[in-house]
Subunit: 223 residues, 4 copies
């Protein structure tokens, strides 16, 4: 499983992180991860998993899996397919790709069956606690209104981080907690650890940065 504390990048469907651009970012993370000994992972689009997984050593993840088994499910994301392409983990229930409750359960179960590490996203303390009931590897709390914004969740709403840590641990001590939304620099990362989290999940902070190497260095310095 992902070593913690960890920095997980979700590249979403940004053009700055599609195809070769995704590989470029993965390569920078790979280099800085090795140099600094920091645990990092990158979640990329399904189309880009195999290319990235072949070329970098940091864990390459899927951004999503659908609650399905092999069969007739045209165009959905089969957990086996992302694993087979080289993903060692997957996000589940990101706020931009929410699942019905029963399917959160199915996706976590499928990830466990296949040995896929998994981060299940929540949007507040109550949903963090509910997700913990499924004993996933990680819960990542991200207030939707702060995603893509300029103020880090660790500044704008530190209570949602510490509250999620408490609520999750009360249900299952083995479940780790990440936080995300607006995370942009080493200070935000350090604050997340201070609040009890095991790392951060971020996207635009890296993907939209002019100097990605600088930002990733700075983020790593926060751990």
């Amino acid at each position: 499983m992902l070593k913690t504390p960890v920095i997980v990048l979700n590249v979403k469907t940004y053009s700055e992180a599609t195809g070769k651009n995704a590989l470029e970012i993965a390569t920078i993370m790979d280099k800085i991860s090795k140099e600094t000994g920091t645990s990092m992972a990158i979640a990329v689009q399904a189309t880009d998993i195999s290319m990235c997984a072949e070329k970098v050593s940091i864990p390459v993840w899927a951004e999503h899996i659908d609650p399905i088994k092999p069969g007739s499910h045209t165009g959905w994301t089969l957990p086996e397919a992302v694993k087979n392409a080289g993903a060692i983990g997957t996000l589940i229930n990101h706020s931009e790709h929410r699942l019905i409750l029963a399917d959160v359960d199915v996706c976590i179960t499928r990830a466990k069956e296949l040995g896929l590490d998994h981060i299940v996203c929540s949007n507040n303390v109550a949903t963090s606690k509910a997700i913990a009931a499924f004993s996933p590897d990680f819960v990542a709390v991200e207030p939707p209104e702060l995603i893509g914004g300029d103020i880090s969740v660790t500044t704008a709403d530190p209570g949602i981080v510490s509250g999620s840590v408490d609520a999750v641990r009360k249900v299952d001590k083995k479940v780790k907690v990440l936080c995300g939304a607006g995370v942009k620099n080493g200070k935000d990362v350090a604050k997340s650890i201070e609040l009890g989290a095991d790392g951060v999940l971020l996207a635009s902070g890296i993907v939209k940065a002019k100097d990605k190497e600088d930002v990733i260095q700075d983020l790593a310095s926060g751990l």
Copy 2:
């Protein structure tokens, strides 16, 4: 654009067509397409597009695109991403992955913007006609109740094929029509052409066959 008449395979998320298995089938189709001069294409999972597109000459397609532009859409299928991975076309609105009407419009528009060939699936004559109003490259009519079954649409419901051909042509003569569901052999393919279609869209007929080469040969013989 796809030369017609054409045989299009949708491998869905069958394990018999995930990863290397997808490439194996694509390779057989590629070989028979060359030997017989038959136009063929294969739609594969997003994870497998780049691998297949690198290795075979027949057109590799995506099974689905989502109605989005580059941006923050975690885990959805970006049209640019499938094109970038090597897809030259995509299915849209497959009966296992239906879209709201406004998004059928967006997906067709996005495919046209990017120069992605596209087949838009319908489930009856009325929806075939409605889709034709968007002037897509192809409409593929597939009665959901016959998909994956043993009786070809061309036998079970020939009227849905000829009816779709008529209805589509009345709205836009340039739109081509495929048919699918239960298509398994050369006879079914020949019948589809007789009914006015420009080819077939099939899945389990090839993917679940013991001797895939045999079946593909037989299908090609129907054109």
Copy 3:
């Protein structure tokens, strides 16, 4: 069927139009409709259909039906149930309640089976044309970005109205066309008729008005 030209009010789920508030608005419309001889209809929440239908003479409509038949569909809106409660028509595929293409077809078919008048909403000329292929009673074109706004579609985008009228008539001459979004006064109504529409579909223009009677009078004067 609704006499045209017509003014159709969709009260949505505004608190100003829930329960007795819905009945109050329906009563004002009823009165002005009689006084002026203007054709009007009101679409209300499912919970409020029976109360309104009992008390007013103008047609009471549902805001939505689901693509289902009687059976085990907990909490969905059964077409038979809204008819039974007194609705004589229904909106279908409102931009706030979009349906997959195949279900637009099912809902129109179900409405026809039950003799429910129906207005199917579109968001642009292309979707207006696609919907016309199903030969519904009415298509109502509403650009989503103008809904609830201050500028009437008839001013902001007259071409979408005349373009929809043309496109719809080309596919099926019997299908009538309404327009909506931002419609607020008699001028907007008059302009819609000038553009070839058979009336308007509106919501906040009446529901959010301080003096609803005044606004409804003014709207009626535009016909």
Copy 4:
């Protein structure tokens, strides 16, 4: 809040329970509830809430609420609207009407804000436990594959009932647990209580019965 143990009927969208048929069943339940002192409630379609709530003394419930506040949400079920029509409670997340995890949270919160009693449906022990994290009034566990069938969950899968009771109580002792699927007679009801549940949620067992009064009497005898 509902007195327990309780028998809750969900009439779904069966024609045998639409309009006057719903009222007829509610009237029988009302009578038997009074005669036997058994706690009973009936969840009916939105269109039928006001009629039933006016005429019977047992609690009338909604079958569903949507995760919305008053505003522009055409055709969705506003919590305020069902309360205003006379509902004193609502089902949430029925297996035929599943919600995304974040919306389960929103619906429970909205129900609490409005003082609406609520039963949140789960499909297995894991989802029962997750729902308990939101501290709803009731969790009702119903294995989807047994819904509408001939074998009661209490016979076919007693462990899912006792397991849900244990899991829910471990998270929040105040949350009550119902069970459902295939429940048809007094024996099934008695067994549910034996397994630790606070009552049953059923549908076809009553709605599809030839002699509804007989069945309701028998069910009541199980408490």
